[in-house]
Subunit: 142 residues, 2 copies
Amino acid sequence: MSASAEIHDIEEGLALQPKFDASGLLTCVATDAQSGDVLMVAHMNDEALRKTIATGDAWYFSRARQSLWRKGETSGQVQRVVEMRLDCDQDAVWIRVEQTGAACHTGRRSCFYRAVTATEGGTQLSFVDADRLFDPKAVYHK
Amino acid sequence: MSASAEIHDIEEGLALQPKFDASGLLTCVATDAQSGDVLMVAHMNDEALRKTIATGDAWYFSRARQSLWRKGETSGQVQRVVEMRLDCDQDAVWIRVEQTGAACHTGRRSCFYRAVTATEGGTQLSFVDADRLFDPKAVYHK
């Protein structure tokens, strides 16, 4: 196939041809199926992607721990996938999920609990939707 | 600072301390401020992040072209940032945007125009919200 035919196939085809990065990972964005809020951004390797599709539970690959991980297996804060979408160049997926409790390891519903705003000569963060739904010390025992 | 104090500072602090990857990039998720749909996933280097914060227009860093890029500078399909959020470990940002026209270079509103579903023994893609809002050949002249 020519390069342009190959790009056309990836962008317009109906075959899953995930484009993993040099570490073998795709980017995954999980949003709340009800509110539309972004809950987290994480990574999937081939196995995590296939397990997520097959089981309807969100599986990820932890870059820090270098291991496959079913979301909520320690915390109980599981994600059931309502819909999975794939992007144009097949290097990112978007999952709309029913999130039990909180997605973030800090105990917040979403990992994105701080807003960034411009100030004169700089930037400033402020907490938004930052209530904790669980105590991470109690859940992770560390 | 100890490692745990440093993590606490990154997760609970009000200072922007972006954790760029080995290529100097953050992951950025852009969602439609009205519908909540994920429009695209792209990357920002330090300059793109600072220009986005300072100007309120979305700027990215293209890994393919290795260059800074103001979203819409060629296509006219600009993104005005309504809100920027930062995630717990400061390696990803979420921007809620007012998208002019279409975010995807294929002419679709969102890059995520295909759904992934499980079939017996495999997966299948299907087009969802895949109408083109512009003709990429006319816009990009290629």
